[in-house]
Amino acid sequence: MRLPAHLYVHVPLCRSKCAYCDFYSLPLSSATEGTTAVANSLAAQALAWLDRDVAPRPLRSVYIGGGTPSVLGADLARLVEVLTSSFPLEPDVEVTIEANPESLDRNLVEALARAGVTRVSLGAQSLDDTVLAFLERPHDAAAVRAAARAVHEAGLALSLDLICGIPGQTAQSWIDTVNGAINLGPEHVSVYPLSIEAGTPLAAAVAIGDVQEPDPDVAADMMLLAQHVLGQAGLERYEVANYARRGAESRHNTAYWTGMPYLGVGPGAHGMLDVETAAAVGFVSARTPGVARLRYAVACDLSAGLTPMPRVDTESLSRVEAAREDVMLGLRLVRGVHEEDIVAAGVASVIDGLAEDGLVELVDHRWRTTERGWLLGNEVFGAVWAGE
């Protein structure tokens, strides 16, 4: 038994909060601790895993997400350095940091590259200043272009995040954003429809009628459009929301969809362990029968200060649940799930029902999500998870 080969670190800070965001992060202005202290505690939490009674496995991927890791500035580079020098690594380890244009300049990119970063996931979201202002992003389109250039010049792989289905976003704005993104030469692009999350300023604006709720049909058209345009530019979909040049698929994200264990570090971060490892580190008692997989969330928040070994909230999955979860996640991937795995997970009849609705299809013994299925992903994933 070994520690997972994938590590996620959550940086719970942002320059300011965007109107639609409900992820755990604090704006810099209200964080009680400085960036150095935060980076130090995150490093300490990560390194604490090496003090547990389980041998590490060389890491295949490290992903520093958030929040906005790049707001840590030079402290982010130091954090990466600590991680890459303390954990054993696979020779071709993928090290991604998430960054926002307003906090990523040439100096930082170069420092990150030196520290071992291989890939930058840039929160562009749009290349239309009106849309960016509506979302209350702390940057404009020019900043996106500048940051993307800096990433290229440092020789790092670039991924761009884009959002569609935004109130007030026109079809033209979206086309321009997708084309503009392609021109920035990314190896990888993620496309998400905007969702109105409870408790956000945007949800409040929708509730009082100041903002119109996004039209799901418009969002669907925009997602289809992105798929075609990106595909023609050589960025092929490999997951419901992710596109990449061949070979540039995110190794870290793929681990999520393929049932690989991963460590989660930092406030609110999530991790997944096989039951043996979970038992060895005391997240589940060794004698709990019927548990096959353990998911956990780190239960601490920034304002309370970070301890090296914080409490975790755990969720145990039985063998049946883990199998269903694998199918649910596997259907997010274009390569789909082998028909034997479907049968083994006991969801064959569910899949038949989905096939009748034209949501999945069998190609070369693998069940794959159809075009309609991509857009109606929740129908597919929900049915598989529920097993009915």
């Binding site: 959550h10 991963y262 997944m272 992903g377 929900g382």
Partner: protein, 600 residues
Amino acid sequence: MTDPTLIRNFSIIAHIDHGKSTLADRMLELTNTIADRDMMEQVLDSMDIERERGITIKAQAVRVYFEASDSQTYQLNLIDTPGHVDFTYEVSRSLAACEGVLLVVDATQGVEAQTVANAQLAMNAHLEIVPLINKIDLPAADPERVRHEIEEGLAIPADEAVLTSGKTGLGVREALEAVVKHVPHPVGDPDAPLKALIFDSYFDAYRGVVALIRIVDGHVRKGMKVRMLATQTVTDVEEVGVRRPANLPVDELGVGEVGYLITGLKDPSLVKVGDTVTLAKHGTEDPLPGYREVKPMVYTGLFPIDGDQYPELRDALDKLQLNDPALIYDPESSHALGFGFRVGFLGLLHMEVVKERLEREFDLDLLATAPSVEYHIFRTNGTSEFIHSPQDMPDPGTIDHIEEPYLKVTVLVPPDYVGPVMELAEGHRASFKDMQYLSKTTVEMHYEMPLSELIMDYFDQLKSRTKGYASMDYEYIGYRTSELVKLDVLLATKIVDALSFIVHKDKAYARGKVLTEKLREIIPRQMFEVPIQAAIGGRIIARETVKAKRKDVLAKCYGGDITRKRKLLEKQKKGKKRMKNVGNIEVPQEAFMAILKVDE
């Protein structure tokens, strides 16, 4: 046994919210009936649903001892009653146990519709009416105006009306003094055989049926053999007692007293409210005048969302009926909804209350279809029948004509709002009869209108169009011929029987159109397009479409938070479970009630 001249039996009656239950609280306090530490607001409203909604649904009897200014201690049996029109029958039952009433009128609201209706009940029962003007602590209180309204509008002398505040307790002692002074004491023959009226009952899981009784003649004590006159059931008396307000056993109840009687009988149909209890041998054969059986006015289908809960629903209805004789039900089945019951209610509030009690007290998940009234169908072949579900409507070709129940509706409203009331009436097939000024500030208007229109959101609209000032009461006046048609609703070209309703011919088009529009908003987008049509006898009169759902993907999955993704999926799934599958279409529960909210 208490000397009957020292007993007073009275009900507290009023329009809803005029402060009956709060006054009852003060009376319990003043007479030290409830220890301070057990006191809570509206203590007699013991059902959860009463406490939450702040309304009284069940009448509650309680005995208190009051030392009056003549230094005598009186036994007062007071009954707090509901004020809503749906529960008028609870009031009339309570009145049958009393010699008088305290008529409470809110000093800021004045006389309202149920003030009039309940005062009339008391007059018809020949009870002494003691008027009382409440809430005089409020700055807007206008006791002079209200006194005037009571005298002019109700023809009840009010110059001696007691002024009270249930909030501060002011005048509560005077109110009880007035009861002692004006309400006649009960009169009966202590030596005659037992003769007692069952004016209410409820079911206790351990003790069986508990009857609330008022002794007219004779007495009753534990161990006696008694007989229920209507059912001729003979049984032993297990316990008699009084409510303070918890049950307190006593040795004996004598002439004029109010209390409870436990016989151990478990079958509520043997202990009928309104029946007379007498001795098993040598008792009276002469029943007390019961009161007219309550007749349900509106009917609705109640279906378990989970079809497996049908037996539980039957069981729950059986149990609830014990303490709600106004509830009647028959099995009903629907292609769309499966097995359920057609349930009759006194009105819409009663329906809501029963549905909520069934769901809460029996842990059921229920779907209610739109209420309908009982129609009288006359066939061309000379036969006739009553139907209370649109599903039972026969082929129009075989119908000669249809009659529907009509009401006399009384609306009390300030003169400024007469216009809006008239306009609303026009939209509801109501014909204006007359109107009179009760005072400068209150007009009483009379209409005749079909009950089926009244249940079409009439009351809510009346309230909103009059800024809440109007109050309403109604009474049934008989059946009248109307040109009615059955309107069917088709989802994906199939008739959904549970959505059919009966409507006046002239309104069919408008209602069909608004209803299909409403349904389009209510029914969520499905995996396929769902046409919604309204039809009369196979002819389509309105059509809308719920477009197929195209997009349903969750936003970004941050940091591998798979758990959250799954939770969201589970939540979505749960939402769907709460809907009813009609064919393969997921229909939210509110769709079946949509017809009530078609505000043309």
